[in-house]
Amino acid sequence: MDIPYTVMPRRDTGLYNAKLGIWLFLASEVMLFGALFSSYILLRVGSYPGVWPHGLLNVPVGTVNTLVLICSSVTVVLGWAALKANQFAKYRKIQAITLACAGMFCCIKSYEYYDKFTHYEVILKDGRVIDGHLVEKVGGGQLVDGRRQPPEAIVIHGVEFPADAKAAGMAKVPLIHNLEKASGHHLEHKEFRIPWSDTKKVQNYGPWHNTYLAIYFTMTGLHALHVIGGALVIGWIWGPGAAMWKSDPERYTNRVEVSGLFWHFVDLVWIFLFPILYLL
């Protein structure tokens, strides 16, 4: 038994099956990310004035990642065009760049995640707040009664806010020059060694830290899963799946087109994610 229209388009719709299938799938993806974007807007508009953080992310790094994704998008479509023109070798080369871009995107993203997970906010018992990157945790860590002991001290490279800063909403606006503008004095970057017993709350900038980071990690994480999934499929078609080019070139080209459509969609989502998370 053969399913009709797996390769050739049906006359009245002008589509082959997989193309319709991927567009239906993308329609559902629009609703998935649409719901997340709506949530973002809602949470942001609904937040109390002045608490939505700005400038937590590294814009140049994000820009580079945007460019990487744009590059991969153009190579995907050029690779498909090469196949259409019967130039298999050229397609192989171009699509390799796509895969490299995908890898690079993931690397950069991991670096950004790592940076956030090592970024700490330490609230001291006297109300002061120290905000910066973890240098080291001194001692601790041994298991006692099955529970891990806290370190003796924690070393942070960052800045210190006076006790009333948090109340004034300053610590919630971590962009340093904003802070300096707000507080009127220069904040010095240096290393702090804080005994654990002085701390009231030690928390890194993971998704639990605030709603902005929560939505940042969730949306970019979901997007990264799409990148990985897309790269795996494209990579499979490019590598082991390429045998089909010999047996059924049209079907193979269709596969490349369909996987490419998915890839463009992933790029498209990022086009919106980048400004709303990094810039606004």
Binding site: G14, I41, V59, L67, V74, I271, L280
Partner: protein
């Protein structure tokens, strides 16, 4: 290779793809540049960033994804999707706006 009417003449399309590519790069640079300029009102920044993002998205959808010359069936499906997406977003926002503010500040 036999061809179908959905994709016509490919060789010259590469040029379009490169043009779109450069437009996307420029769009990105303009967005980031605007971010560093710091307008007086945040609304201007938001409006500009979203406007550029929409243009970029349309470029990707229209030419990389060939939506500019797609079949009617796809347009129909995406039309409904867009409608429901906007419905979800705008009605939810409206519902939130049309709600008395919480008592606790």
């Amino acid at each position: 290779m036999s061809d179908n009417k959905a994709h016509h003449g490919h060789g010259d399309h590469s040029k379009t793809y490169w043009l779109v590519f450069f437009a996307l790069i420029i769009g990105t640079i303009v967005t980031v540049g605007a971010y560093f300029i710091h307008f007086d009102t945040i609304f201007l920044t938001i409006a500009l960033a979203l406007a550029i993002a929409s243009v970029k998205a349309s470029l990707v959808a229209g030419w990389f994804m060939h939506l500019a010359s797609e079949q009617r069936m796809i347009y129909t499906i995406l039309g409904f999707t867009a409608f429901f997406f906007l419905g979800m977003m705008l009605l939810t926002i409206w519902a939130m706006q049309d709600t008395p503010k919480p008592i606790f500040p």
